[in-house]
Symmetry: C2
Subunit: 371 residues, 2 copies
Amino acid sequence: MPKLKRSGSGRAATLADVGRAAGVSAMAASAVLNGARTSSRIAPETRERILAAAARLNYRPNAAARALANRRMQTIGVAGVFAGGELNYYFLELLNGILAAADQHEQNVTVFSLHDWGGDAARLQGLCDGRIDGLILVAPTLTRLAARHLPDHTPFVALHANCALPDVVNIESDEEHGAYEAVRHLIALGHRHILHLHGIRGLVGPERRIQGFKRALAGARLPFDESLLVPANFDRQNTRAAMRDWLGRHAGEPLPHAIFAANDDAAVGCLEALAEAGLRVPDDLSLIGFDDTLAARTTVPQLTTVRQPLPAMGRRAVEVLLDRIQHRDAPVAAEGTDSTIVFPVDLVLRASVAPPPVIQRLVPVARIART
Amino acid sequence: MPKLKRSGSGRAATLADVGRAAGVSAMAASAVLNGARTSSRIAPETRERILAAAARLNYRPNAAARALANRRMQTIGVAGVFAGGELNYYFLELLNGILAAADQHEQNVTVFSLHDWGGDAARLQGLCDGRIDGLILVAPTLTRLAARHLPDHTPFVALHANCALPDVVNIESDEEHGAYEAVRHLIALGHRHILHLHGIRGLVGPERRIQGFKRALAGARLPFDESLLVPANFDRQNTRAAMRDWLGRHAGEPLPHAIFAANDDAAVGCLEALAEAGLRVPDDLSLIGFDDTLAARTTVPQLTTVRQPLPAMGRRAVEVLLDRIQHRDAPVAAEGTDSTIVFPVDLVLRASVAPPPVIQRLVPVARIART
DNA sequence: CTGAAAGCGCTTACAG
DNA sequence: CTGAAAGCGCTTACAG
């Protein structure tokens, strides 16, 4: 039986301990161990002694003390509304890129999961207390007032900001164009009657996708009317319910040729509702998503979708933020330049889209009431 | 045109500033602002003045200074191999629970993404330098030596440890039982010829699932032989390739009744390979997964699977860790008690399992060579 | 009830 | 090349 007790007690070795053990001052130890850029060099022989003592004592510089002296934590924060029932894929992809870039620059990443932007805008203040050197805001939705009162002394960068943030670089992708290309692709295959499952009206992302949808229809001289817009809220559960509901209300009418879902999660919810109703994708109708998250690759059939380069966007956010941290006093963007970085999007062709069936199906009448 | 320059420069207000502004000492300010448990109380009138000054100066306690004085960062770390091509669902579910519990206890969470456990075991050392108060190891696979040399002075807790970690609480679930129940369920429905797509041999999780598989077969007096075990590596891509390969090698032979995949990702990969071969789940054969991650819910059909309560396990890890941090010197477990916490698992019934078809299909001969 | 002192562990000038 | 001093911003005893 091993003794179930770690020696966790007792304090860790400090620079002073190392110095004492090597017969030098703490600051000589600091110079060799923590790579100070002191102009002076330590004699090779002394250096060896210090290194040996440090190894022997298992010395490890204390991050808090260092941060206090340097005014730099080597840590960046990531804040957003991630949890809410289901953690989302969107964030997972982003985090992937953020972690990779942070690792490369030897920065730590602290994740702040907010409940909602409304009440938690105040909480943001609390995070900017020296524990992080800068903060990445993921899809922030702040009121004008809150946006103006972002904590000073802390640099920010935003990803997919849903609101104007004065003096903050915003990183986004060309969503309008992505939506346009997606719908144009459907139209090119012969689809005419296309539904759009859209996100929350008023938010930047959903509105841009709606704009792209409309522009593609207009470009093909296809009529647009509000009935083509089905509200779905960017989330699987909601969309499944919305789609079930839609099918119920349109039983017996001609089935649309295709559906353009505002994101992959919505597309998956839609797929589920269609499957329940006995409709096959892409045989009976085509479906297209947006984002190219894992969700798009783990459905059967896999989803044709618009790829936003989320990991690359996350990486870029880290780089921009680190630059802001280094040059706090530099202006966010050159005079007259926009402080927005736009990534290109790509249409990714997979199995959920096919030409429309020769004989258009009707929306089936519900067979079984399900919960 | 707004001026694109934040006032980021200039330093944040300190306790000394607040004290000065309120005409008291920094420590009086400390007592009222940072809730010191100093036995003495500050006079209500002074208190008001201090509070007012703090508000006026927008005072925010400095985390690093506090950490240095208190020897407590209010931050826990989470380390694991998460990235590797595709960030995994398993971690996403866990993180969900970890973030929720940390939030509740007002702790920050810092995520360390390791490349692999081999080389990075050394990096663990580097993290234990006061920046975190304790560390959660996610599915660690350490050598005996590395395990023995976990940094002192830092409490740990492990989730699904793949190796013995002296004096570290390990949180896991009853995987053997889960595997047993899954296979028993298949057998109860009439399945006889069942394949198991297993993870890496030698790791704790995969081995336990194999044990459960074998026990269920033995319980029903079904013969086991090695050919029922198909190596698949816990990941979608690999499993798809493995399954394609298996189908190719067994073309023309009777199709198995069912497949038990060692995790959901593997099940999804399997599903893809089956779909490519024109085989339908569950009509032609049944499929069952393990974990109940999002992957299990976003396939069509949704997967019958064994649920590990990952968010709850993540929450528990935080609680155990915080307890270890509070009582560093207490033994990890009472004398003679095991320092392992085992969560129960549940079989979740969804659409990927059905009774075997009346007429057993043969493995189809590959129709098109695909890449 | 309030303040002066010392310390947490590290760094950055500044002397020798 | 090396050390003594002061400071980063906060806390915790200890005096008054």
